[in-house]
Amino acid sequence: MDLLVFILPFLVGSAIIVALFPEYSLSRACLILTCCLGMGIGLGITSSTAFLWLVVFAHPGGNYLIAELCLSIFLVLFAIYRFRYAKNTIKIELASSHDSNIVKIEWLKIIFLILMIAFVASFILKAYFERPHGAHDAWAIWNYRARWLFRGGSQWTYAFSYLNAADSPDYPLLVTGSVFRMWSMLGTDHVAIPITVAGLLAVGSILIIFSSLAILRGENQGYLAAIFMFITTQFLNVSTYQYGDAPLAFFILGTIVLFSLKDHYPNLSFRLLFLAGLTASCAAWTKNEGVLFLVLIILIRFIGKMRRNNWFGILKQFLYFSLGMSFVLGTLIYFKIGFAIANDLVNKTNLKKLSDYLFDIDRYLEVLLGMTKKIFTFNDHIISLLIVYFLISGVDRYSFVKKGIASHVLLMLLMLGGYFFSYFISPHNIEWHMGSSLRRLIVQLWPTWVFLFFYCVKGPEKNASIPSNSARSF
């Protein structure tokens, strides 16, 4: 039963991906990407269904389990059907296998495996033994609300009440809802559940970086990027907190990876957009910063491109993206309208202060300098290592690498701009506010920056030559 609560979301998410990509999703690096994204998407969908079940019926117990089991079986059968039959009927553009000039560097794989074991062991020790209930916000917000949903009986709405409001009472429910769903199905609020959710998404982020770069740039580059993630000890730390930041990083990364794949495999464009819609809506369902991410991705990837391209084609792409995000985003909108109270940062009172702050140059400088300092000193100046590596290694100049990268970088910079704005209108002391949260905000974007960095820089191989079609192969 304990395993079943994790297996069902995994099956739901993975079956959707296999049904969408029967020809690719179960081969080599794609299998890892399918499993990781499948777990995340499954958690997003099942946390939404559990919340809606709670609203419409009652606590998700036996009946809910049967309903979810039926959904999983249906999706798995559909995925098997698609895998066995659709594979032979769909005409796919099969590219050549990976460039034979690129030698696999076996010791990179061994180091990756050693560090992955060390990462998992460190996570288990820290999360299960040192802080089984997570850090401050876990017992003040995330798991506290999950407890209210689970233990509150008919009074569960108190979790979102004004009287109960401490910090950020309007936060969306992917993490809280997943934990609540599993506790309800098991009938006990064991600490292992939020720890395992946090652990799966943290390890999933690293594996997504590896698998996506293995597909796009070759396995060596994938291993190197994943190895780099192990240097980021702040990512490990924040994951053990059981907050929404590491899960949000997972979904932001997943969405950017899917858009990068879309840019490289235009024949898979619509299916990838459907999946990207799902991951982007899961990001919005995880934390409010995810809503900003969703808005920006629509602005940059769809509205921003309308001027240059055929607007009907873009509209069609947006339709697929919207289809993907419809269910989880619909749940989020319902939650925000029906249950969530006003945000403590972006609200009428704070926005009114904007006119006072608008000409306050000192405030601009304080936020800008504070953010710059925090970003450059993040994780013991890890950015300097990236800069040195970049200067020595250089950028990969193949056209497929350049394609779409500018929009991703712009998106990430605008996300930072959004964070700047939230500090700018903050009612709190700016120094305190940044000190208590900016490190976590950087973690939200960090895996994506790492992915984009290793997507652009030259591979680890000597005399590596990547023909234009090699990256198109699975």
């Binding site: 062991a121 017992w139 798991n143 509150g152 108190y158 192990f230 191989e461």
Partner: protein, 144 residues
Amino acid sequence: MLKEEIKSYLESRLNKYFPAVRWPVLLIVIPALLIGIYTLLNILSEVVIEKRRSNVADYENRFASIQKDLPANAYVNYVTDQEYAPDFILVRYALVPARIVYGLTSKQEYLVVQYLDTAKIPNFEGYTLKKNYENGVMLFQRSR
């Protein structure tokens, strides 16, 4: 001249051990190995030798008994000799689904008291001691 010699010597050594890899890769791999293993050992020492534990579990254990005696979803006053933060948030978390009201400004039927640094059993006007859990936690009820 010397610079060239050093460079060619280093390149030849690197080529010997890492024939297929560009040397900047080592800038990432070596720190990753050192930091990854150091982090694991550091956490191992904190958890196993220093036995570092978060205090949330202490709150969970301390309030486990009183939780059974509180009516579900009821508003309950809370008084303590500890600092407000993070004590109040931890108590609030441990006692879900009781709705904790800090202080005695609006008096409820039940009053939960946590006195960890005070040995004497306190008196609260309008309340009588219902149960002392002998771990610093006490439950008071309004006098009839």
